[in-house]
Subunit: 344 residues, 2 copies
DNA sequence: TTGAAAGCGGTACCAG
DNA sequence: CTGGTACCGCTTTCAA
């Protein structure tokens, strides 16, 4: 391996000068600079990141932590982060957490010491404990998809999103609207499903509808689980005419359950998802779009900015807009609802 | 930041001893070891990765390079790699390449100097040039999904896979079988689509069928492009009764084209994909399954082994098995083919 | 403008 | 079994 010393010798200068040239520091005569650059090219010299990191006290690395690469939304956010970091001089160190035990170890471990200069947490809002440790580490942190007071964050208003979806169904004339979401999660403290549920409740309340508790079901995340939950809903004597789900993935499960029961969508059942993953368009799913890729990109940019200014900037909180994307899984209710009208 | 020196002072020993304890080196009395460990805990000491890297001459990092995180198959492989590296002491440094220019810079740059101790290339078989540079760097490399003579690799027999899919269709009685795949790619040198096409040709030849060149179409990767290509195929006067595609994603496009023309699948058209991504099951797509996650995991394990032994092991080449997964998009041909029979 | 030298925080060898 | 010390390769004063 050729070192900075080799370059210095070859160029006939001191190592300090070579260092200055490498780092574009001022105070080097252009003649000397030239000579050094020639030597660098001739030797094919590359500075050692490790030596640099040790000497400068920073790793030129950003730690990215995410749960479950099985979730399209997480992958899409990760893509955004990668893109946002692309032009920078930072390496991206990736860790995933799939269990609560991993969680703390990873989140903090990733940026301890000079391992990383900053961290991006995707869909992993830090617990109080983690926040404290993270703050102790002293590196800037950006949380994507998760509220925090402690760090900068990129979020969306999930409550508003839940309201958006529900209001869409209300406007179409639905009154019996169900919700399928994630079970409360102590392990990861994901809150988006709950928030979307809150928005759903708000919308129903504002419409003067008593939310039927039987129509709110939660279970493990995933298509299959959602299909099971939806099945129970659809087998109800007085089944809902519409379902709002906490994610597109779960909406797919609902569609599956409807299909297996011979129910027409949107004729017999309207379905609204959340996220607008690629699949949603493919399936013609009505959904609430959130800018997933964008959220990652913005997080990277924000962190880069934080890394730029000397002092830590106090909480930058970016909130990205949500939009309803009407497609082919929602329509006016018919059947039961219609039949009931004369009776009322 | 507390350093090894602080620990040494607190424990009343030399730094060498602390180092030995940290690294579990032999030759430390248990009494001393205890004292040191206590000091470490008391101080909350963590060794500096940068200093370690510089001193040991290795970064404890593995570089992972992949194209397009938009492709489910790539993400799935990446998941495998992450899982395989999980228990190890290595960090995972991720880079993606989306353009040919990025390609070389990334692939080689990632493991230059002490940046990484080894590299995993996902779906990016190195060019001769890249291989040369990579070899010059001297770190072990494992290529996932791509043939190489230069490095260890995890592959599948794509030719056999193409044959598998085609033979399945032949057995069902199809004679006019089309192929939809990726256009030849000079930029990334992906070969899997071409290999699968070769297998398709082999199978037809063995069945004594003259492959109709009009039935082989290629275009940019992706569902929409595939839908367009399939559209042309389906509008043919003598349209195929079955289509084999180079990926599930493309198969989805074919299904879309069929649906938009009111063709029944598998009644009017049989479709076979490749990969068996999650979506394939959801759509009931008949496909050739390849162990994507597994390929990543195996790559990580292989690299870890390579990193373990002092000498570089000469080419370890693992070939993973392919299996046909029959679902609901393939069946016996009817219509045109049947009608033609009396005429022949 | 430039060279020399003191770290950065470990590892590993060498005496003892 | 243990302490002392010379690196690892770079950055960054400090003098000149």
């Amino acid at each position: 391996m050729t070192t900075i010393r080799d370059v210095a010798v070859k160029a006939g200068v001191g190592v300090g000068t070579v260092s200055r040239v490498i780092n574009g520091a001022p105070g080097v005569s252009s003649r000397t600079r030239d000579r050094v650059e020639r030597a660098i090219d001739a030797l094919g010299y590359r500075p050692s990141p490790a030596a640099r990191a040790l000497s400068r006290g920073r790793a030129s690395t950003i730690a990215v932590t995410a749960p479950f690469l099985t979730r399209p939304s997480v992958v899409e956010r990760l893509r955004g982060v990668v893109a946002g970091l692309d032009a920078s001089e930072y390496d991206l160190s990736l860790a995933t957490v799939e269990t609560p035990e991993q969680r703390r170890r990873r989140i903090v471990g990733m940026c301890q010491r000079d391992r990383a200069d900053g961290a991006i947490l995707i869909s992993l809002p830090p617990t109080v404990d983690e926040a404290r440790m993270l703050r102790a580490v002293g590196v800037p942190v950006v949380v994507v998809d998760g509220a925090t007071d402690d760090f900068a964050s990129i979020t969306t208003d999930d409550v508003a999103g839940g309201r958006l979806a529900t209001e869409h169904l209300l406007e179409l004339g639905h009154r019996r609207i169900a919700f399928v979401g994630d079970e409360p999660d102590e392990r990861f403290a994901f809150t988006s499903s709950d928030d979307r549920l809150a928005g759903y409740r708000d919308a129903l309340r504002d419409a003067g509808i008593d939310a039927d508790p039987d129509l709110v079901v939660t279970g493990p995340h995933g298509r299959e689980a959602a299909a099971g939950l939806a099945g129970r809903l659809l087998d109800l004597a007085d089944r809902p005419t519409a379902v709002f789900t906490a994610s597109d993935t779960q909406a797919l499960g609902v569609l599956e359950a409807a299909r297996s029961r011979g129910l027409d969508v949107p004729g017999d059942l309207s379905v609204v998802g959340f996220d607008d993953i690629e699949l949603a368009e493919l399936m013609g799913l009505t959904t609430v779009r959130q800018p997933l890729f964008e959220s990652g990109r913005r997080a990277a940019e924000l962190l880069l900015r934080l890394l730029g200014r000397d002092a830590a900037a106090e909480g930058d909180h970016v909130e990205l807009a949500l939009t309803l994307v009407p497609r082919h899984t929602t329509g006016r209710p018919r059947g039961r609802t219609t039949r009931r009208r004369p009776a009322s």
